[in-house]
């Protein structure tokens, strides 16, 4: 299964979105939140991101979903062939990615699903 890492300046924000996405994606989806600085304050910690990537990596690739600012730049430090950044709405993209990953889709499909979240209508 494709792993998902949610990266935010804010620990609680990443954690809450991870909860929501896990609920919709199913308990089996490898999903981790890497929010906040190491000390729990606002900020982004590459060490937390590295640990989160390791935690969710099942060999099928990992999608990094950043919110904004330093999350995006920190995510970029980890880009490789099988670790890709999804430039998608943070909440909606995370949900779509989790659902797609939960259906055991390959990395490219999970990424595409997350990107489609841009056009999903709520009303």
């Amino acid at each position: 299964m494709v792993g998902i890492v949610l990266i935010s300046h804010s620990g609680p924000l990443a954690a809450e979105v991870a909860l929501l996405a896990a609920q919709l994606g199913g308990a089996g989806v490898p999903l981790a939140a890497a929010g906040g600085a190491e000390d729990g304050g606002l900020g982004t910690s590459p060490d937390l991101v590295a640990a989160a990537i390791e935690e969710v990596d099942r060999g099928d690739g990992v999608i990094l979903i950043p919110d904004l600012g330093s999350s995006v730049l920190t995510a970029r430090l980890f880009e490789e062939e099988r670790v890709v950044i999804a430039d998608v709405p943070f909440v909606e993209g995370a949900i779509a990615a989790a659902v797609s990953a939960g259906a055991d889709s390959p990395l490219e499909a999970v990424l595409a699903a997350a990107e489609e979240a841009r056009t999903f209508r709520k009303l």
Binding site: S45, L68, G69, L73
Partner: protein, 217 residues
């Protein structure tokens, strides 16, 4: 930095220490700048990062300039916590890598330092996708590196060349005031980002000024 002027590991350590001192002294100003168009943490972010760098170098000073710059970059990436961490971290790591590629010698010539700074700038540009005019640290770093290159090509003395680079960085930072941010957190502000100096450009000016200070000793 004409021929004959060589920079050893101690020179780079002194540059970093002077940068750390300058960042600590400018912490409040950097944070105030970030309060206007960001999240009011640039001063404390960088100060945290450089404090960690100084501590890391005190534990065991690396024995080549390339190794030292790599430690600086890695520590900044891990400890800064804001967007400037990956950016400055990448800049210093790319500098270290460039010097390593040139042979990882114990002494670096002014031309080699300039090439390393060019590699650092390229790394920042690649990571952050910022061009000049986007109101970021690139607006201070790019003119500084250009000024250094030009001064060296014109045969300036090392301290003169460093002075030109530092002046260009300060001017570049000031020139960000009327710009509208197109990268980073400030870009979300759109028009509201106009009229304020970019904090990352301001800290780049401090770091380049520190280089001049040390070169002039």
């Amino acid at each position: 930095m004409a021929t004959g002027f060589e920079m050893d590991t101690a020179f780079f350590a002194a540059w970093i220490e002077e940068s750390a001192r300058s960042v600590a002294a400018g912490k409040e100003r950097l944070t105030d700048l970030d309060a206007a168009i960001g999240d009011a943490d640039h001063g404390s972010n960088l100060d945290r990062g450089f404090t960690a760098v100084v501590r890391a170098l005190a534990v065991k000073e690396p024995d080549t300039p390339a190794a030292l710059l790599t430690v600086v970059g890695t520590t900044l990436i891990r400890k800064v916590g804001g967007a400037s961490g990956p950016l400055y971290g990448t800049a210093f790591r790319e500098m270290g890598r460039a010097l390593g590629d040139l042979g990882d010698t114990a002494e670096v010539s002014p031309g080699e330092l300039c090439a390393a700074l060019e590699a650092g700038l390229a790394g920042v540009r690649r990571l952050g996708s910022a061009a000049e005019g986007d109101k970021t640290m690139v607006d201070a770093l790019a003119p500084a590196v250009r000024a250094l290159r030009r001064a060296l090509e014109e045969g300036s003395e090392p301290r003169e060349a460093a002075a030109a680079a530092a002046a260009a960085a300060r001017e570049g930072a000031e020139a960000t005031i009327p710009m509208r941010a197109r990268r980073g957190r400030a870009s979300y502000l759109g028009e509201r980002s106009v009229g304020h100096e970019d904090p990352g450009a301001a800290s780049t000016a401090l770091i380049l000024t520190a280089l001049h200070t040390v070169a002039a000793r």
